[in-house]
Every structure is written in structure tokens, then in C-alpha cells.
Amino acid sequence: MSRQPDFSTAPRPSRVPAFETVAVAVGLVALVLAGGAAWRARDEARVARARLDGVRREVEAASVRLRALDASTRSGRPGLAAVDAEPARIVADVATVLPGDARLERLSIDYARGGAVELDVVARDASAWDRLLARLEKAPHFREVEPGPEVRDAEVRSLVRVRWVGDPR
């Protein structure tokens, strides 16, 4: 803004027009907001970089583990050891072999003995019991099927011991 002539006997410092004052104030506020936003963005970028580093480390660890699993697969070992299997996985496999006319009353898994599973089973009749044993024998996830003593009334109550071996390869 150019200086305006002023013939006052006691000139005052020129007053900046209100709209210019408002414009300068708005500019300053915008500058402060932009600075704050830039600062926050810098912090967020730092957090994002840290997370990225963490993910990279996890990916690296997973890659190492994957390579180890590949190696173990190539050497003929099962893909998933019994000690690594979650109980839900083993129960699910038991459920697939259980006939409709047999029910499971108790199930225990002994991880210390390499996935030894004990099943307390009640079958509606002898043929249902036989079907259960046959299915267990044929199921790829189970080995070492050992039927226990049977109580045969109208229904058959017995204990079966098997070993869960996971996916055979």
C-alpha cells in the first residue's frame, strides 16, 4: 500500500484498513493451522514408519518360518505337528468321523504324548460302534486306533484311544 499524503500538523501512524487487518489475521491463523497440521502429519508419518518396520520384521520372521516349514515338508515330516494343533482342530476332526447314532461323552487330548486322544463314546447299537471304529481306522488324521473294553447293553459304551497326526503328506 502506497503512503497517502497527510497534511496533519501532528501526523499519526497510518491506520491499516480493517479489511487488511482481518486479511492479515486470517492469514496468520491459516499459517498456524497449517503449521499444526504439518507437525501432526510428521508425527503420524513417524508412527507409520515404525509400524511399517514392525510389519517388515513380522514378514521377515514369517518368511523364515515358512522356509523352515518348507524344508520340513520336503524332508517328509507332517505339515502340522500334533503339539501345534489347537484342540478345536482335533475336536473338528473327531466330529467328522462320529456317526449320527453315536455320541461323544468325553474327549481328552494329551499333548505330552504326541497328540494321544481318548474318546468316551456311547453308540446306539453294535453296528454304530463298528461304523465308528471303521471310520477312525480310515480317517487320515488318526492312527493307532485302540478300542477299549465295551459295555454292551442295548447301547455300547466304550473308550477309544487314537493318535491325532494331522494332515498326512
Binding site: Q4, P5, S8, T9
Partner: protein, 275 residues
């Protein structure tokens, strides 16, 4: 109440006190209000070296009434033509405009140079319009404004405001006569630039239009403004009458106040502010 970005201007001359409220924004200046209160002849007699306020009470009352409808009391005081010595100078390279104007005008002032307030207005091609006014004269107007309950933000000169508008808007090639009640400026523009400037007291007796036309011819000739008849553009106090009387070669309309107010038309200083 004064609005955001509004400046009040209060102009005094022998015939009236005029006030204008101008909004100043990014789109330029805009008139938001205007009022003119006539003065009885002889109440205010603008003079460069003797008191102007013959009947101060009357003038102060007019100042208050002019501002009544506009609100606010902080004003830029606009002094009439006839108080200052005004001239156009070629500014030497490196010279400070105000110092140079003071140096050039000092010898011709009818009052001691130490009592002078000098200001300058940039014109194109290294020229400046210089104006010198006696400190005690300004003080007299300031005291009257303060006595009327006003706060003075700045003091300006009506002819300088008009010239500033002409220079800023690149006035067309012509001799622009800017009339105050007691003095006038003849500003010659050539190729959009101010090339010559005369300031003298008016003689409003019969035949003023003819004398003005003769003077315009001389001003144009001195300015080397071609061989054709000089075009005259008249603005300011009594401009409409003089335009009619000059007749013949039609005189253009010059600086005018905003058309919303009939009595603003002859406020050339306001036209300068708005151009």
C-alpha cells in the same frame, strides 16, 4: 456506527461542507453514504495565509450535520483548493520527493518555509505533484473539526485527491479543469500522463467560461499538446454551468461523485477517490 473498512471524509469549501463514507475492500472503494450541508456566503473563506473561518459556529454546525447520518466521528479532513501552493515537478534522479518539493517551493511561499507542511503525489514519468500549505492554516481547520467533536485521522487536499484520481485512472488527453469554490487546477494530460499543472484562484465574475477557455488553449499550447483545438474537461464546483457556457467545442464530463446522490456530482475530490 462506522462499518468494517469504512472511512469517513469531511470536505470543506466556501459553499458547503460535504461528508462521504467510503467502504474500502479488496474490490476497491465504494461510496456508502454522502451528505452536503450548504454554507451561507462568507461563513468560510479559504485563504492560504489568513484565517478562513469567518463564522466558525456556522461551519462547525454544518460539519456536525453533514456527519449525522453517516455515523462515526473519525474523519479524514479534506481541505479546499485555494489554501496550498501546488505545482508539478520533474524529480531529479535519487531526490526525495518531499525534500525536493520543499526546496522548489520554499522561495515562492508567502509565509516562512519553516511553517510549511509539504506533501507530494507521484505522477508518471518521474514527475511529482508537490503541495505546500501553511501549518497555521491546517491547524485552524483541525481545531474547528476537534471543536465539532471530531477525531482527525488524516488531512488531505481536495485538489490533490482529484489529481490523484486522474493520474491513477490514466485520464484521457485533455486539459482537465478541477474547480474548487475559490481556486482551480488546470491539469494537462498527454498520452495518459500529467504533463502540466497550473493552480490559481478563481475569478467567478461574468465571463469566467470564456477566460477559462482561453486559459485552456494556453495550457495546451505550453504543454505541446498537438495543433488541434484543446479539449476541455471540467469537474468540480459549478462545473455544469461552466460546461454550458463554454459551449462550442463540447466539454467533457470529468470527475464526478457517485450518481446516487444528486448533490455529490460536483464533488471532484470524491470522484478522484472513487476513480
Amino acid at each position: 456506527m462506522a462499518r468494517l473498512g469504512t472511512r469517513l471524509y469531511l470536505a470543506l469549501d466556501a459553499s458547503a461542507v460535504a461528508a462521504a463514507a467510503l467502504g474500502e475492500g479488496l474490490g476497491g472503494r465504494r461510496a456508502r453514504g454522502f451528505a452536503r450541508v450548504p454554507l451561507e456566503p462568507g461563513a468560510l473563506v479559504p485563504s492560504p495565509s489568513s484565517p478562513s473561518f469567518a463564522r466558525g459556529d456556522e461551519v462547525r454546525g454544518a460539519m456536525r450535520r453533514a456527519l449525522q447520518g453517516l455515523g462515526g466521528s473519525r474523519v479524514t479532513l479534506v481541505l479546499p483548493d485555494g489554501l496550498a501552493r501546488i505545482a508539478l515537478f520533474d524529480l531529479p534522479r535519487g531526490a526525495q520527493p518531499r525534500d525536493y518539493v520543499r526546496f522548489r517551493l520554499a522561495a515562492s511561499l508567502p509565509w516562512p518555509a519553516s511553517e510549511t507542511i509539504v506533501e507530494s503525489l507521484p505522477a508518471a514519468h518521474g514527475r511529482v505533484v508537490g503541495a505546500a500549505v501553511r501549518r497555521s492554516t491546517v491547524a485552524e481547520y483541525e481545531e474547528a473539526a476537534v471543536a465539532a467533536g471530531l477525531e482527525i485521522e488524516r488531512v488531505h487536499l481536495a485538489p490533490l485527491l482529484a489529481l490523484e484520481g486522474l493520474v491513477r485512472s490514466g485520464a484521457r488527453d485533455a486539459v482537465h479543469a478541477v474547480l474548487g469554490d475559490v481556486a482551480l487546477c488546470l491539469a494537462t494530460f498527454h498520452e495518459g500522463a500529467l504533463v502540466a499543472l497550473r493552480n490559481r484562484r478563481r475569478d467567478r465574475s461574468s465571463g469566467e467560461a470564456l477566460r477559462l477557455r482561453d486559459e485552456v488553449g494556453r495550457a495546451a499550447a505550453h504543454a505541446g499538446n498537438g495543433t488541434g483545438p484543446a479539449r476541455l474537461v471540467v469537474s468540480g464546483a459549478d462545473a455544469a454551468r461552466l460546461r454550458r457556457e463554454v459551449g462550442g467545442e463540447p466539454s467533457g464530463r470529468g470527475l464526478e461523485g457517485p450518481g446516487e446522490w444528486d448533490d455529490a456530482v460536483e464533488a471532484a475530490w470524491l470522484g478522484g477517490l472513487l476513480s
